[in-house]
């Protein structure tokens, strides 16, 4: 198998008109053409008429080229950039609620400190921490907390910005 056909994750940064339904057009295109979305983040930009949408796609080179070209055909899409890990800053945000007790509290705090995570709330039985980092940092953090029983975790999906 040649390396071009290897499946991996790509980050697409899409600049679009901030119209009703534009996110539906984009996500609809993905499902219609059988492309896999790993995550999607959309928000208004500094210009109220524009939305920036960051999509993580699973696929090979060929699929990403197709996605890029198909997205470009949408009338409301202005620009599509396939972001490269080393040309962009990549971040994701995590909120995590973990079970705690007086015995585990110190260990949980120690792990949070190592990752520079913030503790947002502490109650008798659980605590909520937040962490911003690369997707792999978040994965490691979650792994460390797993033995303490994670009650709920929320991730935003990947954000990225060209350097």
């Amino acid at each position: 198998m040649n390396h071009q056909n290897e499946e991996k994750e790509y980050i697409l940064s899409v600049l679009a008109q901030n119209h009703t339904g534009v996110l539906l057009r984009i996500s609809g295109l993905f499902s219609r053409r059988c492309y896999n979305i790993k995550s999607i983040v959309a928000a208004q930009t500094e210009d109220v008429n524009r939305s920036q949408i960051l999509i993580v796609v699973q696929g090979d080179d060929r699929i990403v080229r197709q996605v890029d070209k198909q997205l470009n055909k949408l009338i409301e899409v202005e620009q599509v950039t396939v972001l490269n890990d080393h040309e962009a800053v990549v971040r994701e945000h995590l909120l995590l609620k973990v079970m705690r007790s007086d015995e585990t509290s110190n260990q949980l705090m120690a792990i949070a400190n190592v990752f520079h995570a913030n503790v947002l709330n502490v109650s008798a039985d659980d605590m909520i921490v937040e962490l911003t980092g690369t997707p792999s940092t978040l994965n490691s953090f979650i792994e460390c907390y797993k033995p303490y029983h994670i009650l709920k975790s929320l991730r935003t999906g990947t954000m990225a910005m060209e350097k």
Partner: protein, 568 residues
């Protein structure tokens, strides 16, 4: 000048030189229909039997004239009835603007009577769609809809207009008078989808590939018609001195009386095209997306030679097959650039080989019974009676393939058929549209009994408006194409394809007010068709044929396009 929303729509249609629209009235479009009444001396409205007929008619109008077709329907069921027609146009990249009414703004989203989120429904089958929620955006939205439908790769655009917008009054500024900056800014959508400039290195590479080729194969798709590139294609063929195959969508894009024409390529292409594909050393494709009906098997299609693909849509490159050289842009422009640089070539030996294959593998249809009217015989008669100058529309199935195989198309926009979506019931509406766009041409809709039953309601429209087309039903009482697949792959288990309906076509046609005839024997063919063409009114002709005719050659699913089967 202050106008109602509905009047603004009319003015915008006139700006686009629309002279004919197809549609059906209803609650949410009452204001639009009131305006149509007012504008009836400038815009002709054809009221079809069903909204689907209106969408196909707008499509047929567009395909046969190159102009944008327009259809109108009310909210809810009216709008959803357009969907098949819109999808048909989308798959074949046909410029169309569909205008739908919707419920009042304050009723939107409340599951109101006859409310459907039609922009949501049609998102996957339109090039773009709009819902107009402010009267100030109405005129420019309609203008944009026409621009998007015609620009780049063409396609259908839907504009949904809530009823109260069509009643509101607003200052209408004709497009000829410039809008102020604020208005322009409010409506500007960046459509920077201009064709890519042809790079010098790519042009040189193309010329080199062509110069090095001893056995070139030119293949033309529907993009040739969309780009009005037939004359440049002819020039290209003559300069390279190469054989040509056309897709179903490009029938007539190259004169089929020309010696270099090989027939179609792909699932029901000729053996000559298949042999040429196998033996060529360059495959030059113009205005095509390499649909699965052409390439048959993506792994084996033209893998032994370089492939040059010319297409306006960059997303069509390396989508279905990988190509050696991609030339992106309008086919007519690119062919002009190529032609200006090409030297006159000579491939006499290769063309002699092609001629030999053509003699060896002609398209022939054997009769099963000596009394049989073969479809080939029927189309030969049509060729004779019309001097191959008629516009043929079709439905979908065996009759569609026979029409493509046996009628000799000589000009672009002469063959109107649903290629991509394969919409049964397309033909009658399309024929209506084609005839209204081309009043001086003979228009014949070729249909089968299966397709005919789907939308025969439009006979009432033909009769009402006295649109003189000939509806030719090839009646074999079966769904022939599906049945043919059942023969090949399902051991003759004819599940629901032997229809044997009791319909009396002649009586039915007469009931709709359409003069109708039967062809039951070989001897009837010429006189009945002759009579049908001599009448300047809508005519139905039912021709009864043997149910066991097959469409051949055929490339079975998954097989190579180089190896069609010739008998079954």
């Amino acid at each position: 000048m202050k106008l109602t929303g509905a009047q603004i729509i009319m003015e915008c249609l006139l700006e686009q030189q629309v002279d004919t629209v197809f549609g059906y009235p209803g609650g949410a479009v009452l204001n639009i229909y009131d305006a149509l009444y007012e504008y009836k001396d400038r815009i002709r409205h054809i009221c079809t039997a069903h909204e689907q007929g209106a969408s196909h008619a707008a499509d047929g109008y567009a395909r046969s004239s190159g102009r944008t077709g327009v259809c109108i329907a009310t909210s809810g069921p009216g709008a959803t009835n357009l969907v098949t027609g819109i999808a048909t146009a989308y798959m074949d990249s046909i410029p169309m603007v569909a205008i739908t009414g919707n419920v009042n703004l304050n009723l939107l989203g409340l599951d109101s009577f006859q409310e459907v989120d039609i922009t949501g429904v049609t998102m996957p089958v339109t090039k773009h769609n709009f819902i107009v929620k402010k009267i100030e955006y109405l005129a420019d939205t309609i203008r944009q809809a026409f621009r998007i439908a015609q620009e780049g790769r063409k396609g259908p655009v839907l504009v949904d207009v809530p009823k109260d917008i069509t009643a509101q009054m607003y200052e209408f500024i004709p497009a000829t008078q410039s809008l102020n900056e604020e208005q322009q800014a409010a409506m500007q959508l960046p459509i920077s989808k201009k064709p890519v400039q042809l790079q010098a290195s790519k042009l040189e590479y193309a010329l080199e590939l062509i110069a090095n080729s001893k056995r070139p194969f030119i293949y033309a798709g529907g993009g040739v018609l969309a780009a009005e590139a037939s004359a440049q294609l002819k020039k290209l063929v003559e300069k390279i001195d190469a054989p040509v195959a056309c897709s179903l969508m490009c029938q007539g894009g190259f004169d089929q009386a020309d010696d270099r024409y090989m027939g179609m390529l792909g699932m029901h292409g000729t053996k000559t095209s298949a042999q040429a594909l196998k033996n060529c050393d360059l495959f030059l494709a113009v205005g095509t997306r390499f649909s699965d009906r052409i390439i048959c098997n993506a792994k084996s299609f033209a893998r032994h030679c370089p492939v040059i693909q010319i297409d306006i849509d960059p997303a069509e490159f390396n989508k279905n097959i990988d190509v050696t050289l991609k030339l992106c842009g309008d086919a007519n422009e690119i062919l002009s650039i190529l032609n200006a640089r090409l030297h006159q070539d000579d491939h006499a030996q290769w063309l002699a080989q092609i001629r030999q294959w053509k003699q060896e593998y002609p398209l022939v249809q054997k009769s099963i019974d000596s009394q049989d009217i073969t479809p080939q015989m029927l189309f030969q008669t049509l060729n004779e009676l019309t001097q191959s100058e008629a516009i043929l529309t079709t439905d979908v199935g065996q009759h569609q393939m026979w029409a493509a195989q046996f009628y000799q198309f000589r000009h672009p926009r002469q063959f109107i058929t649903s290629g991509g979506l394969g919409t049964m019931g397309f033909g009658l509406g399309a024929a209506m549209g084609a005839k209204l766009a081309n009043p001086d041409k003979k228009v014949i809709n070729i249909t089968g009994d299966g397709s005919f039953h789907m939308n025969c309601n439009e006979l009432s429209t033909l009769a009402k408006y006295q649109i003189p087309i000939v509806e030719l039903v090839l009646d074999n009482s079966v769904l022939g194409m599906v049945r043919q697949w059942q023969k090949l792959f399902y051991e003759y288990r004819f599940s629901h394809t032997d229809q044997d309906k009791k319909t009396d076509f002649v009586k039915l046609g007469e009931a709709f007010g359409v003069k109708s005839f039967d062809i039951r024997s070989k001897d009837d063919v010429m006189p009945v068709l002759k009579q049908a063409f001599s009448l300047n009114e809508p005519v139905l002709v039912a021709c009864h044929i043997n149910r066991d005719f097959n469409v051949l050659p055929m490339v079975p699913a998954g097989a190579s396009a180089e190896e069609p089967i010739l008998e079954m």
